[in-house]
Amino acid sequence: MLTRESSASADLVDATQAASFRSWLRFRELVRNLVLRDLRLKYRGSVFGFLWSLANPLVMVGVYTLAFGYILQVRTPAFVLFLVSGLLAWGYFAGSASMSTGAVIDSGSLVKSVYFPRAILPLSTVLFNLSQYLMTIAIVIPLVLALHRVPPSAPMICFPLFLALQTLFTIGVAFTLATLTAFMRDVRHFLEIGLQVLFWLTPIVYEFKSVPRAVQPWVLASPLTPYILGYQQSLYYREWPSAELVALAVVYAVASLLLGLFLFRRYEDRFTEQL
């Protein structure tokens, strides 16, 4: 009886489907506004504004240069350039990961009162960190290259490739963390420790080639390693990255994205209902 009735009104579609039909393209403006919101909130009302987000990485670079270059006397020439190529990108990743844990659960009222693709929330936290990172490297990297009198060279064009792959990888991580945090608040604490371990496991402050052979697999197991190595290849060593390196970067990016999308899409209904 009911099916007969429904056929009379064939021009109806599922409400949740109708909502997602309009999805991504329509909601570009929302992504933009969320990123703008976070940027404005961060810098509005502070005297030095954007300079603050330069200060943090620069101080880190200063401290590590002092510790490794002068105290431990690591023999890496142009150590500042080496450090900058990896450390800033690490900051972009770590910042995105920490922020994404709250991406959905801290937007309760938004999620409960209107439909929009929920994935926009973790996505925009990554894009916010990306835009901060881009602003930072736009100033810092030319400065450091000039400092070490490095002329432009062809392998530098690989930098955006690795940045794009790292961004995909980070988006996957953000989806995963946003989902996990909704079910387990401990994820935030795990992440703090995990990031510490990952930082030292990744060849950011030391050169990969100085790592003993036996430990190298462990270093490669850090999913950040291929991206950091990629940046170092293009900016510091200025050599073309090996195919294996690119392949590894692609594999980590795709795997992370698939896992993140799977978890997020699978549990998004459930955790938005529980906010």
């Binding site: 429904s6 009104s9 109806l12 403006e29 929302l30 506004n33 009302g45 608040r185």
Partner: protein, 485 residues
């Protein structure tokens, strides 16, 4: 008109988590301590709701808190996914939600930035927002403040901005939740005007509100939800009537006796704000009609001004309004479990009618304990038995018979199960519905006759007496066996 919203056997289940294991530690503790274990409870916010709404219709959703109104809105909006059944809307229809005003607002951002943010949350593109931006600002009347951070706005100004955004989203289907509960009279009028404009443009409106006035002003059709079930779908007045009955049934007289002693340390309790006339609704609606009918009935039964009358469940003075002035002063005794109902009735009915409330005695009690009273010629329990279990019917009758004069009569209305067999639900002439297992109850006359007979009451069935919802009347008198205890 084409159908734009169709719910087919729609159900929505939520899992409520008690002691939610938000952290690993709690999860671990749960393994060791039973009482710390997470308890999951199913909660069906909606059950098997089927409903269709045509384009251009304005439908009110009513029901008490937790009845599923907001859940239904969220399912239409696509915020929630149905657990079973289907929720379908017209292809390409743009659904606008006004479930909360100022969605996405951030206090640190300026009015302008918030307009763009909030409108984009609703899925508008930049061009679309730019096209309506000037109208939004003009309609809100906040031109001078639009570049100020929102935190400098008063809550009224924030609301105006939020509403102005919502009003300009131009959805095809507009879902509103209780926004009339906030804001001053001016704001509410503005809301109503906007709603009417939407209606003139053939937009579909689904409107959740507790305010009968607000619903009446906009809707011709209303749906009553009760514990997730669609209990009524039809005209607004009939829906509120059904709502009254559901609420009465929930309150389930008799209630525990209220604590009337003054609380020394507590703040003076602020009077809960209630819409005018709520006491009439609380007494079951049809206030005037039923009041007149029962007064006429008692006089047909030979009521005289010098008689002493006991009115049980006198509530909103439906009968009192007629009886108190007509009987000799001091001869009317009203019993009611809810003091606030009596208070409201005195204030809004008796005083305006020029009836001296001092001429009546009001006994606030929900346990049929009447205290010191004279012996009554006549007792009345109108629409009370349908709210009582059989045990309480007996308790009530026993208490009443003890206070009656020899030869005194007790009139009680009830829903008659004329078939005499077990029937789940009966629809009576006039549209009242009664149930075997929940209030309003119906009883076979034979059951009442036998049960009341067992405690020494003689019951006569007077049958229909012109009650608008089809309640039948009983005359109960004491047989010789009623003790003097």
């Amino acid at each position: 008109m084409p159908v734009v919203i169709e719910a087919a056997q729609l159900s929505k289940r939520f899992i409520l988590r008690h002691n939610p294991a938000g952290s690993v530690k709690e999860r671990f503790l749960g393994l060791l301590h039973r009482e710390k274990r997470e308890i999951r409870e199913e909660f069906w916010a909606l059950r098997d709701v089927s409903l269709r709404i045509d384009r251009g219709e304005a439908v009110g959703l009513i029901g008490s808190n937790g009845s599923g109104k907001s859940t239904l809105l969220k399912l239409i909006a696509g915020i929630h996914r149905p657990t079973s059944g289907q929720m379908r809307i017209a292809r390409g229809a743009h659904v606008g939600t006004m479930i909360e005003l100022g969605i996405g607002f951030h206090p640190e951002l300026s009015g302008r930035e918030n307009v763009f943010l909030s409108a984009s949350v609703h899925g508008l593109s930049r061009e679309e927002i730019e096209a309506i931006y000037d109208d939004i600002v003009a309609y809100s009347g906040l031109e001078q403040f639009i570049d100020q951070p929102l935190k400098n706005y008063s809550s009224g100004m924030q609301m105006r901005l939020g509403f102005s955004i919502s009003a300009h989203l131009r959805p095809d289907i507009l879902l509103l939740d209780e926004i009339f509960a906030v804001g001053d009279a001016d704001f509410q009028q503005r809301c109503m005007r906007t709603m009417r404009q939407f209606q003139d443009q053939q937009k579909t409106i689904v409107f959740v509100s507790h305010s009968p006035d607000a619903i009446r002003a906009i809707c011709r059709r209303a749906c009553l939800l009760d514990r997730g079930e669609l209990r009524f779908d039809g005209s607004v007045d009939a829906a509120f009537d059904a709502y009254d009955r559901v609420r009465l049934a929930r309150q389930g007289l008799p209630a525990p006796p209220p604590d009337l002693s003054p609380r020394p340390s507590a703040q003076p309790a602020a009077a809960p704000s209630r819409p005018a006339g709520w006491h009439r609704d609380a007494a079951g609606g049809l206030w005037e009609e039923v009041g007149q009918r029962q007064f006429a009935f008692l006089r047909e039964q030979g009521l005289a001004p010098e008689d002493y009358v006991l009115d049980i469940g006198c509530g909103a003075c439906r009968g009192g309004a007629h009886l108190i002035g007509w009987l000799k002063p001091g001869h009317y005794y009203g019993v009611e479990a809810r003091p606030e109902l009596v208070q409201a009735a005195i204030e809004h009915e008796l005083v305006p009618l020029g009836i001296d409330p001092g001429a009546a005695h009001f006994i606030i009690n929900g346990h049929f304990v009447f205290g010191e009273t004279p012996q009554f010629d006549l007792a009345l329990a109108q629409e009370l038995f349908p709210q009582l279990t059989l045990n309480d019917v007996l308790r009530c009758t026993a208490a009443v018979l003890r206070t009656l004069k020899p030869g005194g009569r007790f009139f009680a209305s009830f829903y008659d199960n004329a078939e005499g067999q077990y029937v789940d639900a009966i629809v009576h002439p006039g549209g009242g519905t009664s149930y075997a297992d929940r209030p309003p109850f119906h009883y076979p006359f034979a059951v009442l006759e036998a049960a009341l007979g067992a405690i020494g009451a003689k019951v006569r069935r007077l049958g229909a007496w012109g009650h608008p919802r089809g309640l039948a009347m009983l005359e109960i008198t004491a047989s010789e066996r009623v003790g003097t205890r």
